[in-house]
């Protein structure tokens, strides 16, 4: 057991700290994908290797050797300094790694740099109304007609579709192949004729999602990543990454600390919630769970550093971290009582209504990115070696 990163990393941490101290005033305070300040900040971060760190320079990155601990130190120091880590989103987190691994040279040249700089904003077109947990049963079709794919169908739960310049999506190109082998991975511009976007308001009352409809949408045939029918493999090259990124234990810790503050400052009948033994007991339970998830995360990090797979410790994170956050946010509402119900703009609203918002948002994350039930299938099948559910009897065609 050795929890230090080692002396060779102390210098690096100092570098990051002094960068933050020197440039903090330039950091954007609001995340807007189109704001010039956000883009300038992103550019500065790339120049210094704090964004797009390991992406080769020929594609617009910083070109550093991969180093898990340096990446982590950057994350830790930017979080501690409460400074934006630059642009995020599915283009940067999912498409760029996918292209680096499986894209053609031309695609890498065309798409990676503008994605990193924020010139191209992306959305992800995977889920469909009838393809949720069973994503591989998706039906949106693409048929080759001359030099174009012609797309028909619809996608759902598409975050940022209304803001995006581009979509990376999964479409069925080989209708006669087995379901996992009939899918292709396409890139398309969102202003292509035939695309209609309808906002989908979620329970937080924000239009965080969209439905996207495709009617005879024509996409140049070279905008396929990988070969025809390989789309499932292409998409899965980075899907695991998304699941892990949902369970950031440091975010849970910072919410827990905020909750502690709340319990020490609110009053009920003149007493602080912290002075109520029942509430205090619940808080302590959460603190232990947050701790356990943080150390579980260190265990995963340690395995990665050794080039090993943390196995079950890794497989359980999406399930446990999203459930924990949802429950933690809900507990804060219990602590506040009726104040916890307030939502919207009013001086009585605590913490900008973030507790209600995150309570609901994390229920969305329990469902999205592989539901908790799907996670339990993965844990039991891949982690515990239990057999798959036999195929159910398919509904008789009417």
């Amino acid at each position: 057991m050795d929890l230090s990163y080692g002396p060779e990393y102390d210098d690096f941490r100092q570098e990051v700290r002094s960068f933050i101290a020197k440039h903090k005033h330039l950091a954007p305070t609001q995340q807007g994908v189109r704001s010039p300040r956000v883009k300038e900040w992103q550019q500065l971060l790339i120049q210094h290797g704090y964004a797009a760190r390991t992406i080769p320079t020929e594609y617009g990155g910083y070109g550093a050797e991969p180093d898990i601990l340096k990446g982590r130190i950057i994350g830790e120091e930017f979080a501690a300094g409460q400074v934006s880590t630059g642009l995020s989103g599915q283009g940067i987190s999912m498409l760029v790694p996918t292209l680096l691994e499986l894209g053609s040279e031309a695609q890498k040249q065309e798409f990676i740099r503008p994605t990193l700089t924020g010139e191209f904003v992306w959305c992800q077109g995977y889920s469909e109304p009838n393809a949720g947990s069973d994503l591989a049963s998706l039906r949106t079709s693409a048929v080759l007609d001359g030099d174009d794919w012609v797309i028909n169908g619809s996608k759902i739960w598409t975050s940022t579709a209304h803001l995006a310049d581009w979509m990376f999506c999964l479409v069925r190109t080989e209708p006669d192949a087995p379901k996992h082998q009939g899918i292709s991975f396409l890139l398309l511009r969102m202003d292509t004729p035939g695309i209609e976007i309808r906002p989908l308001v979620d329970m937080t009352m924000q239009p965080n999602f969209n439905e996207v409809f495709f009617t005879d949408v024509r996409v140049p045939k070279e905008q396929i990543v990988g070969h025809r029918g390989e789309g499932w493999r292409v998409a899965n090259a980075v899907l695991g990454h998304e699941r892990e990124s949902l369970g950031d234990p440091n975010a849970s810790l910072s919410r827990l600390n905020r909750l502690i503050h709340l319990m020490q400052t609110e009053t009920v009948d003149g007493a602080r919630p912290m002075d109520n033994p029942a509430l205090r007991d619940r808080l302590m339970k959460f603190q232990a769970r947050v701790m356990a998830m943080r150390f579980n995360d260190l265990r995963i990090l340690s395995a990665r550093l050794n080039g090993a797979d943390a196995g079950l410790a890794r497989m359980i994170t999406k399930l446990q971290a999203t459930e924990l956050r949802h429950e933690l946010e809900g507990f804060a509402i219990d602590v506040m009582g009726e104040f916890g119900l307030l939502y919207g703009k009013h001086p009585y609203v605590r913490d900008q209504g973030s507790w209600q918002n995150q309570y609901m948002y994390f229920l969305g994350l329990i469902i999205g990115g592989g539901t908790s039930q799907i996670q339990k299938n993965i844990i039991s099948e891949r982690g515990l070696g239990m057999p798959r559910e036999p195929k159910a009897i398919v509904k008789a065609e009417a």
Binding site: M1, L3, M274, R289, A292, R299, A313, I316, K376
Partner: protein
């Protein structure tokens, strides 16, 4: 950066597990449970030969001088096998007490005998973790009076006893005026007794005057006991998964039913972060002293909850067989239940965790 067990610790784990696989099978545990005369001497002697008794004893006193994480590794193996062995009491609680509060003569007198497995020490600390009813021990002029309930290891050669001011004393089993009254309880893999003192001669551990040594002993005990629960819980999950893969109903192995798989996944999801917490809490006691007490409280309470959930769920996965004595799964269920209540139940230690942080 290395968060996990070292090669040596993994080797230790394999060695202890191999020994227990061979020498503490469930049949052997049952014999201990059914026979009050059987004190598990063969098991403890074998473990002592492997260095388990000497684990935390400093090298100067014939020990190995290892750390709390090593003790947690051993406890996990013992819990997995529901092994009857005075490891927690003798090798952890007594050794920690002597190391932190014993004078040079006391250390020289007892530590080598603990290390070679010839001295077995029980621990009467229940009152320091919440005195029930009128129980309590007072000390005056080198003599103890009163009652200590729920002393751990009824078969010990001597006892570590906390008095009402959390000072620590050593009392020989044959000391005048000491009564050792075994208490029947559900977990028959760990024996518990009521100790009565009537002007019983005792030796004070001089470094324990301010109560801090007693608290330090309880801290390490909680961490090691949490590791015992971790081992028991992991073993129950393993048994449940194995059973589900063999048991057939509706022409399928029940492991193929999502209702069963999800129960097993939930157990694994509870156990994995618990394991990381056990490792960290053990590490913190030695290396991050400012966090040691807080994480010791949290690991005790958290493993009590994880253990309770797994004990119940793994039993349910076994169906009717899980409920029988024939299968013996209840030995693990009860071990977890025992570990939950002793050295401070979950609400109690969570309140202590709050107090450590100034919240209460």
């Amino acid at each position: 950066m290395e968060f996990g067990l070292s090669e040596e610790q993994t080797l230790l784990q394999e060695t202890i597990n191999r020994f227990l696989d061979d020498n503490a099978k469930l049949d052997r545990v049952r014999k201990y449970a059914d026979d009050a005369e059987d004190v598990g001497a063969d098991i403890w002697a074998g473990l002592a030969e492997l260095g388990v008794a000497a684990l935390l004893v400093p090298e100067a006193h014939g020990g190995i001088g290892l750390k709390t994480l090593d003790a947690a590794v051993v406890a996990e193996c013992l819990g997995a096998h529901v092994a009857p062995a005075p490891f927690l009491t003798t090798a952890v609680l007594a050794v920690t007490a002597l190391r932190t509060a014993g004078d040079a003569a006391q250390q020289a007198q007892w530590l080598p005998r603990i290390a070679d497995g010839s001295l077995r020490v029980g621990a009467a600390l229940a009152e320091a973790c919440g005195a029930r009813g009128a129980a309590g021990v007072t000390a005056a002029n080198g003599k103890l009076s009163g009652t200590a309930l729920f002393a751990l290891d009824a078969d010990a050669d001597m006892f570590l006893v906390a008095d009402g001011e959390q000072r620590l004393h050593i009392v020989a089993r044959d000391a005048a005026g000491l009564g050792v009254n075994p208490l029947p309880h559900v977990d028959r893999t760990q024996r518990m007794a009521e100790l009565t003192f009537d002007s019983t001669p005792a030796e004070l551990l001089p470094g324990s005057a301010d109560g801090e040594a007693c608290r330090a002993v309880i801290d390490v005990g909680r961490v090691v006991q949490a590791a015992d629960t971790l081992g028991a819980a992991q073993n129950m999950l393993d048994q449940a998964v194995d059973y589900a893969k063999q048991r057939e109903q509706f022409n399928r192995v029940i492991a193929s039913f999502q209702a069963v798989k999800h129960l097993c996944a939930e157990m694994a999801a509870a156990i994995e972060p618990s394991r990381a917490l056990v490792w960290y809490a053990a590490h913190a006691l030695d290396e991050v002293p400012e966090e040691g007490r807080l994480t010791a409280c949290h690991v005790k309470a958290h493993l009590a909850e994880t253990g309770e959930f797994v004990a119940r769920t793994a039993t349910v996965v076994h169906g009717g067989m899980g409920f029988t004595d024939l299968l013996g799964l209840h030995y693990w269920f009860k071990r977890i239940g025992f570990n939950r209540q002793t050295l401070g139940g979950p609400e109690r230690v969570r309140e202590e965790a709050a107090r450590v942080q100034g919240f209460a």
